[in-house]
Amino acid sequence: MSHRPRLKPLARPKVVTVRTDDHGEPLFVRLPGKTARRVAVVRERWRIDDEWWRQTISREYRTVVLDDGAVLTLYHDLLDDSWHVQRG
């Protein structure tokens, strides 16, 4: 009998709803099952373009502070224009 356990990746991204301004900067973030919160400040931003040889990854990350003090790492998937929240 063969055992084929599959590794479960940690820090998998979750889709979130984000309202942006005219420049594409996040204004409001609504996490699944919660009310929308206003983005107080964008602390940091960076971009990842990788794995072009396999399945291209193109993400624009932001660390944001919400108006209730919560700190989130969000990224904007530049390929399908979706927003995600991610730990790690």
Binding site: H3, P5, L7, A11, D50, I57
Partner: protein
């Protein structure tokens, strides 16, 4: 220089639609003699063989042998998997090489364009620009061989594999069960239909004769669908026109025989044994014994212990050596913890992988001494991986414990850690030691929930820029 073999007798050509024909005896030997151990295997050798197979003694040997041979077995399996390639020029790359890739097996169209086994890929592509190159998939081929052997053991318990695509069956006493030799062959081939598609079975060549050498020559001279049966009284005459290339001896001996103008076994028989021994040593003596049908090698059944197989599927293909080493350690731990392994030490181990974009990769090692220590098992595999790394990123890593020895060394008598969880001062999972208390707790949870709800965090690619690639959860199931 090897000459084309006569088509009248001993026709060692690859028959059948889409396959290379009219090959030389040297080609034939090269394509099949990668394993001549079947002819030279002895009891004592078999018991210490690096292979996971062992002879089980002389009581079940069979003098009457049936050889089933499927030339270019691996390439045919690939074409069964991708039938659209059947009418194109295809070459299978040789396994286990990462820098200078060479061609291993070629289809008839590729052969007609001048592509030959052993050529560098660059040479082959320059000769045939439309050549399709296929990565070898040893895991797939071995699985096919295992299935074939399993089916054939229903015909006779005396089954001796001799490399992929060639198997000897001991047929002593089966005439009362299945009838004449031709009926026995038909029965064996019919059983293959259960596991292989009809083109593959149709291309199988079958030969029956006393001894493995006779059966092998008969199979090699047979055409697809027309098995050759050689009765004992005709064996000597049958060998007369057989090319010397059929002898399972060192290829250098064959080449020297051919340069001396000795092309057939009939010609070889004219020489006295002392002169052949003087020229070729033990090989010369054996060659004469085979040529004169004095030597009959019985088929020996081979005990194949069921390997303990564990595998790990990565969420995304992994190319980092460090990650693969970590996964290897976890897999060896899991394999050692399997109940089937308990009470036995490990002497042979195999590591393989399914690769990104198809294909597979394997390395195998025989341990210097039986052990059940994770590090002693993993270390030689890591060394092998350094020498021959996977050519592409790995999707699934596999570890197989293939050969087993007696229970562990005597130091185990004084090791009390197994008896008491309290004796284990820390949870040192790295060495594969899991406290009994924790093991029992997991067992209880599994009984209650149906699965182990405990996980271990493992590093997958800790320096990856993509957060979900860095760490993962692995089910903790000691």
């Amino acid at each position: 220089m090897a000459k084309p073999v006569s088509s009248a007798q001993g026709v060692p050509t690859h028959q059948g639609r889409g396959w290379a024909q009219n090959r030389t005896s040297a080609d034939w030997l090269a394509s099949t003699s990668n394993d001549i151990e079947w002819a030279t295997r002895q009891e004592a050798r078999a018991s210490t063989s690096s292979s996971s197979r062992r002879s089980t003694g002389s009581s079940r040997q069979s003098r009457q042998a049936l050889c089933l041979w499927l030339p270019t077995f691996e390439l045919r399996l690939e074409l069964v998997r991708s039938p659209e390639l059947d009418s194109t020029s295809v070459a299978l790359l040789s396994p286990g090489e990462s820098t200078r890739r060479t061609v291993w097996q070629v289809s008839e169209r590729a052969h007609a364009s001048g592509v030959r086994p052993g050529q560098l890929v660059s040479q082959a592509v320059s000769l045939c620009t439309s050549l399709t190159l296929l990565e070898p998939d040893p895991a797939h081929y071995d699985a096919a061989v295992d299935t074939m052997l399993e089916v054939l053991t229903e015909i006779t318990p005396v089954v001796e594999p001799a490399g992929r695509g060639r198997v000897f069956l001991g047929m002593d006493g089966l005439e009362r069960l299945f009838g004449s030799p031709h009926r026995q062959i038909r029965r064996a081939l019919r059983s293959l239909f259960r596991v292989f598609p009809s083109p593959l079975v149709a291309a199988t060549r079958a030969g029956m004769a006393p001894g493995k050498f006779g059966a092998w020559v008969a199979a090699a001279s047979a055409r697809s669908g027309s098995p050759v049966v050689v009765p004992p009284e005709r064996l000597r005459d049958f060998f007369a026109r057989c090319p010397v290339g059929a002898l399972p001896v060192d290829p250098l001996v064959i080449s020297r025989l051919e340069r001396l103008g000795i092309q057939t076994l009939g010609e070889l028989r004219r020489f006295p044994e002392p002169s052949l021994v003087a020229q070729f040593g033990e090989d010369g003596k054996n060659a004469l014994a085979w040529a004169t049908a004095r030597r009959i090698d019985p088929v020996r059944p081979q005990y194949r212990p069921r390997p303990i197989r564990v595998s790990l599927e990565f969420p995304t293909p992994v190319g980092m050596v460090g990650t693969l080493h970590g996964a290897l350690d976890r897999l060896v731990e899991r394999a050692l913890a399997r109940p089937a392994r308990r009470g036995r030490s490990v002497t042979g181990v195999r590591m393989g992988a399914h690769l990104e974009g198809g294909g597979s990769w394997f390395v195998e090692t025989v341990l210097r001494e039986p052990t059940s220590d994770r590090e002693r098992i993993a270390s030689p595999l890591r060394s092998k991986m350094e020498i021959s790394p996977p050519p592409k990123a790995v999707e699934t890593l596999i570890v197989e414990l293939t050969d087993f020895g007696a229970a562990s060394t005597q130091t185990g008598l004084f090791d009390r850690t197994i008896e008491s969880g309290r004796a284990t001062s820390s949870l040192d999972f790295d060495q594969g030691e899991v406290p009994v208390t924790l093991r029992d707790a997991v067992k209880e949870l599994k009984l209650r929930l149906g699965h182990s709800p405990l996980y271990r965090v493992v590093e997958v690619d800790p320096w990856s820029r993509i957060p979900e690639r860095r760490h993962a959860l692995l089910s903790f199931d000691p």
